[in-house]
């Protein structure tokens, strides 16, 4: 019997065809590493949950976020049907938080996505072609870098005026330079690698080299950096709303809510802090997620 055991353990698994060797794509291996990173997974779930509550706000919010009630102003958490209390006009905080998430998350994700595409494009072009093209693009970006991002955002949005579209535009412009710089650095590193020269020596066009060999290597640092910018963008948008340069008052928005509840901080400190806590949790979640993504996307890990 021992012979049989030894025999079977020595025999290679003959039934397994040679082509069945595991084939894991790049994204497959990223997911494989992410699966065991519980902090990152928790943040991912949290972000998905926040996004879902924002998307389905009309279905799940208990009350009308715009219906005020002078009788129930600044009620504490858990008062009657008001799960998170009411604001200075007697509107349900929970409903306003759910609706406000729509604006705040849009302001966090959309400008970053736009800036990644535009800034990434400029950065890859500057990094790959170098020389005068690089100089022109990167010195232009340096002009924007000369101002602190908050100041730049205030200046642009002050001259454009309030409103969601203008706020979106402002944030996109502010986020383009840092993303451009990251893309440029990554591209100029890849540019010097021998595999780009090897691709050139096959007679490939510049466009083909950029798409097949450069973009795929530049993508992960840019995506990781972009994910850290989501929290920056949410905070910037909240700041603009707080200063009255973003969305206009009746609209529910986390930054705007924080701004208006500020005056009631001595009356209802905990209720006033709720929008701030939401901003904090969301941005930390995005930051930790990007940290985990950076580790998972490192191909040599």
């Amino acid at each position: 019997m021992t012979d049989a055991v030894a025999d079977s353990s020595l025999r290679p698994p003959a039934s397994r065809p040679a082509s069945a060797v595991r084939v894991r794509s790049y994204w497959g291996s990223v997911w494989h590493r992410l699966r065991y990173d519980y902090v990152t997974l928790f943040c991912l779930v949290l972000i998905i949950a926040i996004v879902l509550t924002a998307v389905f706000a009309p279905l799940i919010s208990p009350m009308d976020p715009y219906k005020s009630s002078m009788a129930h102003r600044l009620r504490p958490i858990g008062y009657h049907n008001y799960l998170l209390g009411t604001d200075e006009q007697g509107r349900d905080i929970l409903s306003r938080m759910l609706y406000g998430g729509r604006v705040s998350l849009t302001m966090g994700i959309l400008p970053v996505a736009l800036a990644t595409i535009i800034g990434g494009l400029f950065g890859v072009v500057a990094g790959y072609f170098g020389g005068k093209v690089n100089m022109l693009i990167m010195r232009t970006m340096d002009v924007f870098f000369a101002f602190p991002s908050v100041l730049l955002a205030v200046a642009i949005s002050g001259s454009l005026g309030g409103g969601i579209t203008n706020q979106l535009l402002t944030l996109t412009v502010v986020l383009i330079p840092p993303l451009c710089r990251v893309a440029e650095t990554a591209t100029s590193q890849v540019r010097t690698m021998d595999f780009v020269d090897a691709a050139r020596s096959t007679g490939a066009s510049t466009l083909s080299i950029l798409f097949t060999h450069v973009l795929i290597n530049v993508m992960s640092p840019v995506l990781v950096y972009a994910s850290t910018l989501v929290s920056v963008s949410i905070i910037l948008a909240s700041g603009l709303s707080f200063l009255g340069l973003g969305v206009s008052p009746p609209t529910a928005d986390w930054g705007l809510m924080l701004s208006t509840l500020r005056q009631s901080i001595y009356v209802q400190p905990i209720v006033s802090a709720i929008p701030g806590v939401a901003i904090l949790i969301t941005s930390i979640a995005f930051n930790l997620l990007s940290d985990g993504l950076r580790q998972a996307m490192d191909v040599r890990a």
Binding site: S19, A199, T212, V299
Partner: protein
């Protein structure tokens, strides 16, 4: 170009052959590359690095030409110039009788198909985000092959270099050893069915046993595919093993060229003699105690006057500092001639060790 008196070679006639068996695979005439050094507010050119300075030679069909020299002597720059990866400042490239890049010559695309290169750094020469099968198939795809035929070609090439395509095809470069990566690089270079392969330190980064495997592989492939090699290395033993002819470079210039056996048995140029003296011997009694060559080579920004080697040469005389020794017309002479750019070799050069006129060969 018919005045080249080639040593007859019994290479089978290749259908791609245009110039006949006597026509050199590649003629390099007066190749120059000066890299500008820019400085100051206006980025003015303040100096030039003379990386490759007036180098002429030719490669016979079917041979392996070894190129040796210290680090920084312009070997790799020369390779990149031949591949048109960097723009040359002057010089001509004639591929199998056709001028490359000229108005009547072959287009760059033709050169790219005929000339391929294996890079030194096996890991940076493979895209870390592409499975190696796709890296190999990229060249044929660029040249218009369908995805399916490019893939089939890549798989057969991987088999040719000794990698099972079923096992390795979908792997990423970081999952391969150095030797395996270099095999992939060779497969990738072969994918466009080149006639001349430039091997730039292709085995230098590998450990000795793997190096031997890859060298044998290169020998087999050369016979199978009727290839010509330019083999660049600083490893003199390996160059002797693989090369038919050897050329020695010093500070961007060609100082000695000739059949490998003659160069190794009877080096003419004192630089070549010093290089060969640096080789490690198998005999522990014959160990090298003092370095035959002291110090670094002089700066290629302002190379020494006269003979560029005179600052480190043991036989230096006044004539070496004043006059630049000539190598002789490499392009006009036959491939089995052994030439050296040294005053001690040329009769009547004024050097005390120069042969008398009558005995000049």
């Amino acid at each position: 170009m018919t005045d080249h008196m080639m040593t007859p070679r019994t290479a089978p006639v290749d259908p791609r052959d245009r110039g006949g068996p006597a026509q050199p695979m590649l003629i390099v005439d007066g190749m120059k590359k000066y890299f500008p050094i820019r400085a100051g507010v206006f980025n003015r050119k303040v100096a030039e690095v003379k990386a490759v300075d007036d180098v002429s030679f030719y490669v016979v069909k079917g041979e392996t030409l070894g190129i040796v020299g210290e680090s920084g002597c312009g070997k790799s720059t020369l390779a990149r110039l031949l591949m048109h990866l960097i723009e040359k400042d002057a010089g001509e490239l004639i591929l199998d009788g056709d001028l490359v890049g000229g108005s009547t010559g072959v287009l760059l695309d033709g050169l790219r198909r005929a000339l391929q290169m294996v890079f030194q750094d096996s890991s940076s020469s493979l895209n870390p985000r592409l499975p190696i099968e796709q890296s190999v198939a990229y060249g044929p795809k660029v040249q218009g092959a369908s995805g399916k035929s490019a893939k089939a070609q890549a798989r057969s090439l991987m088999e040719k270099v000794g990698l099972n395509p079923n096992l390795f095809g979908q792997r990423y470069p970081h999952e391969l050893s150095g030797g395996q990566k270099q095999r992939v690089n060779i497969a990738r270079a072969l994918a466009l069915a080149p006639r001349l392969l430039i091997l730039d330190e292709a085995v230098s980064a590998l450990d000795k046993s793997v190096e031997a495997q890859v060298l044998n592989l290169l020998g087999d492939i050369k016979k199978q595919l009727n290839l010509t090699y330019i083999f660049i290395s600083h490893d003199l033993h390996v160059v002797r093993y693989i090369s038919d002819r050897v050329m020695v470079m010093y500070l961007g210039q060609l100082v000695e060229i000739g059949p490998a056996d003659q160069i190794y048995e009877a080096p003419k140029h004192p630089y070549t003699q010093a290089l060969l003296a640096c080789r490690l011997s198998m005999d522990p009694e014959a160990r090298v105690d003092a370095a035959p060559l002291a110090g670094d080579p002089p700066s290629p920004v302002s190379p020494p006057s006269g003979c560029r080697f005179h600052t480190r040469c043991a036989f230096v005389e006044d004539v070496c500092k004043a006059k630049t020794p000539k190598l002789g017309d490499v392009l006009k002479l036959s491939a089995d001639k052994h030439l050296a750019a040294c005053h001690m070799v040329h009769p009547d050069s004024g050097h005390s060790r120069a042969p008398a006129h009558a005995t000049a060969a």
